[in-house]
């Protein structure tokens, strides 16, 4: 089945691969290779993640005490806004698609590169430009409106760098659009012979759905930012009730994108989890077609529910009713996925490697995050829980507990493929557990705090709530350690890690049939696909994992 024209040692890193194919700065900064662009993104995304995490640390330190002693309220506002903007626009939206997606979409479909490699590079430059503009605004003092920039505060009263930050977000938006465009075209036209739609890994299906949202939703935030800037500079009046405008219009336009944006954040992570669960149970995903279509369903229905962010804003009650019902409906495809993943685990041959630990964490944390989303989607409940810590806990469970954990799982899973090296499983498992424990300790108390009425975005709070806040801060410390550890041991693996070989986990996916790291043109032989996705049968030419043969048992 593997017709290799040259003899190469599949247990070793090949001599010529995409990493050492040219060492100059220009060969990296002007590259058209999607794998190098993915690495550029990995570096920049990690940097912004650390920056956002720094602001998170400031928030948690401030909230250890009931009074606003570490930070004045005005500064605190700028800190949580910076945290939000950096984490949402500079990390969560691009992280998985632009790093793991860029690297693996062509590999998984058997293509040489994405459809438009230069647009891919442009996408990274736009990301960096937007990030620098936002960072500049930050250094100048930042914005205190919250990452949601609500009018009329952002248009009339805020004294921060609203327009410049908005410009940064605008530029990053175009980076996102170009990535999405690239993925859709690539998945349509560049699949290898034999790679039909229903043989695609579910990672590809979820990236396809994500790209749909990127293309259809992001332009709306772009125009919203434009209108915000015009309103702020020129006082148009469309968001100003005194002149005849409506501040809720801003919220409608803003959330029309920002709600589907959260599906941009979660869908790629769900794609990774599908890969992890199937591959580490050595079993085909249960209900492949259902999981594939549920990704598309989430993308489409996700555009219909944005009003659930506006329940208490002044939106009409009837509209609130409609959006509430649709929010219930959008939970269904996500539930379908969770059920199918669980069914995949049943009677699978499960191995508890680090990526699988992250996948298990995801299952539990996404369940909590998703269910609490349903509580909030019920308009009656939302009246009490809106703008409290319950909301913060909910979205951190889905953003950090699901997206970031999926991201970490994916990085670990594909680390050997991207770098050719193995990381230390021991440290991997420790940090996965620290992340899980730290995360829950940080954010579970926040559900209770929200229920007890602690408002969000406040630097001070009632004294009775201090104990829970201290738990939360302690958890944040553990979480921080758990997240910094991978930086250390993954970097260390680059220098003294063992050579991983082509197929470190012994898996049937197309990306595992080329070397680690892959050569610049991805495959030594243009692949022809004749097997179904997640085909673990012996006829698939797969060597059985050593752990399972009689000799080692």
């Amino acid at each position: 089945m593997e017709k290799v024209l040259e003899v190469r040692d599949k247990t070793k890193t090949p001599e010529l691969n995409y990493l050492n194919n040219g060492y100059s700065v220009a060969s990296w900064l002007l590259t058209k290779d999607h794998k190098r662009i993915a690495m550029l993104y990995l570096a920049s995304v990690s940097f912004f993640f650390m920056l956002g995490g720094f602001f998170a640390a400031l928030i948690r330190l401030e909230l250890m005490t009931p009074n606003s002693d570490l930070l004045q309220a005005a500064s605190y506002n700028r800190v949580f806004t910076a945290h939000g903007i950096i984490m949402v626009f500079l990390f969560l939206i691009p992280a998985i698609p632009a790093t793991i997606g860029n690297f693996f979409v062509p590999l998984m479909i058997g293509a040489k590169d994405l459809a438009f490699p230069r647009i891919n590079l442009l996408s990274w430059y736009l990301y960096m430009a937007g990030g620098l503009v936002a960072a500049y605004a930050l250094l100048q003092g930042g914005v205190d409106t919250g990452w949601t920039f609500y009018a009329p505060y952002s248009t009339t009263f805020s004294n921060g760098w609203v327009v410049v930050t908005g410009l940064g977000a605008f530029i990053i938006g175009f980076s996102s659009i170009l990535t999405g465009l690239n993925f859709i075209v690539t998945i349509h036209t560049m699949r290898a012979p034999g790679m039909t739609w229903f043989r695609l890994p579910l990672f590809i299906w979820s990236h396809y759905a994500t790209s749909l949202i990127m293309i259809l939703g992001t332009p709306v935030i772009a125009i919203t930012i434009l209108l915000l800037a015009l309103e702020r500079i020129a006082k148009i009046g469309i968001f100003d009730p005194a002149i005849g405008g409506d501040p809720i219009l801003f919220q409608h336009l803003f959330w029309f994108y920002s709600h589907p944006a959260v599906y941009i954040m979660i869908l790629p992570s769900m794609g990774i989890i599908s890969e992890l669960i199937a591959n580490f149970s050595r079993k085909r995903i249960f209900g492949y077609e259902f999981v594939a279509f549920s990704s598309i369903a989430i993308a489409v229905i996700g555009f219909l529910v944005w009003g659930h962010h506006l329940f208490v804003s002044g939106q009409s009650i009837y509209a609130g009713l409609v959006f509430s019902i649709l929010t219930m409906i959008v939970a269904v495809p996500s539930a379908v996925k969770v059920f199918n993943w669980t069914a995949t685990l049943y009677k699978g041959s499960i191995s508890f490697d680090t990526p699988m630990l992250y996948a298990f964490s995801f299952l539990g944390l996404f369940l909590v995050g998703g269910l609490t989303g349903l509580f909030l989607g019920t308009a009656g409940m939302d009246i009490h829980l809106s703008d409290t810590y319950f909301i913060i806990a909910h979205f951190h469970y889905v953003m950090v507990g699901s997206t970031v954990i999926g991201y970490l799982g994916g990085i670990h899973y594909w680390w050997s493929k991207m770098t050719g090296k193995e990381y230390s499983e021991f440290w991997g498992k420790i940090s996965a557990m620290l992340v899980f424990i730290g995360f829950n300790l940080t954010f579970f108390p926040q559900f209770i705090l929200g229920y007890l009425g602690m408002p969000r975005r406040y630097a001070s709070y009632a004294e009775e709530l201090q104990v829970l806040n201290i738990f939360s801060t302690a958890g944040a410390g553990v979480l921080a350690i758990g997240m910094i550890m991978p930086v250390i041991y993954l970097t260390a693996s680059l220098f003294n890690g063992k050579d991983a070989g082509d197929n470190r986990w012994h898996l049937p996916g197309l990306e595992w049939r080329t070397s680690s790291p892959p050569p610049t043109e991805n495959f030594y032989e243009p692949p022809v696909v004749t097997w179904e996705a997640y085909d673990f049968s012996d006829e698939n030419g797969l060597e059985p994992r050593k752990e399972l043969t009689k000799e080692t048992v």
Binding site: D113, P117, I223, G245, E525
Partner: protein, 305 residues
């Protein structure tokens, strides 16, 4: 690495990531349509704002749109339609390997595109002259006629009212000129007209709830409030047509690049994909205008002829 399908003949313009021209062309077309889908949603945000405000304040919008020159707008529509034709013909001639006609058609398209922008400039200047640009200081500052200098002004502004209307001895009395627009403010002058419109609507009972609150203070028509809502119309007008004009300018830039490449004979029946996708962009810009024209220029026109 071995290359089992070495291309003996490399079609011109085939990029390395594609297997053959067909795949590349297909990808280009899908890619451009994805970009256009994104553009539709981009303009869509402004159309949403238009939709909402027009539904809230139809009379203000009617009043505002009657101050736009529908003839020039219609002319622009025709100009763009002609340019769409020449663009489509460019693609046609590229497919027919006819370099000269391609170049002529591109030049014609660019000419019509420039005419469009020229007419737009005329319209914008007209707005500037009449004080209809909704941004303070961006209107023409106009002075009215100065009062006669020969006689001492009868009434100095109330500044000296406490002195019994007379300037204290030795004070310099300034002459008053009637400034219509001293700082280039947005001026909505046609009071009679809009009053008529509102009153007619009130009589026929087709003012919306927002209008009933929005135009009146204590039962009387409040000019300032009405002006605020007309100003929103003008903002939407400038934002939408401005964004559209920006896309036209980008389109002209694209045409220039296309012109250079066509002049060099780059495009042929085997390789005309860039012409085709530029055509798609150009037609899209035309379509946006096909909607902008009636929505902005025509919809209130039957109230006032």
């Amino acid at each position: 690495m071995s290359d089992t399908h070495a291309h003996d003949y490399h079609p011109p313009g085939l990029q390395h990531q594609f297997e053959d021209m067909k795949q590349q062309e297909e990808s280009n077309i899908i890619g451009m349509w994805m970009f256009l889908a994104q553009e539709i949603m981009f303009f869509g945000g402004l159309f949403t704002a238009y939709l909402i405000f027009r539904s809230k304040y139809p009379m203000a919008f009617a009043a505002g749109s009657n101050h736009l020159d529908a003839f020039l707008g219609g002319l622009n529509t025709l100009v763009l339609i002609v340019s769409s034709l020449t663009m489509a013909l460019t693609v046609y001639y590229a497919q027919k390997n006819n370099r000269n006609m391609q170049v002529i058609m591109i030049v014609l398209t660019m000419i019509f595109g420039t005419v469009f922008l020229g007419v737009k400039a005329v319209e914008y200047t007209d707005k500037y002259n009449h004080g209809l640009v909704p941004f303070a200081t961006w209107n023409k500052k106009t002075k009215g006629e100065a009062q006669a200098k020969t006689e001492a002004p009868k009434e100095v502004k109330n500044f000296f009212a406490s002195e019994g209307g007379k300037a204290p001895a030795g004070a310099k009395v300034e002459e008053k000129h009637d400034y219509i627009n001293p700082t280039g403010q947005f001026q909505w002058n046609s009071q009679g007209e809009s009053n008529e419109l509102i009153l007619e609507a009130q009589k026929g009972n087709f003012l919306t709830e927002d209008e009933k609150i929005g135009y009146f203070t204590n039962g009387e028509i409040d000019q300032k409030k009405f002006e605020g809502r007309v100003r929103i119309f003008f903002w939407i007008y400038f934002a939408m047509t401005g964004l559209h004009a920006l896309h036209m300018i980008i389109g002209l830039g694209l045409m220039l690049w296309l012109l250079i490449m066509a002049w060099r004979g780059t495009y042929s029946a085997q390789y005309y994909s860039p012409v085709e996708i530029s055509g798609l962009y150009w037609h899209f810009v035309d379509i946006v205008w096909i909607f902008l024209f009636p929505l902005l220029y025509l919809l209130g026109r039957h109230f006032i002829h």
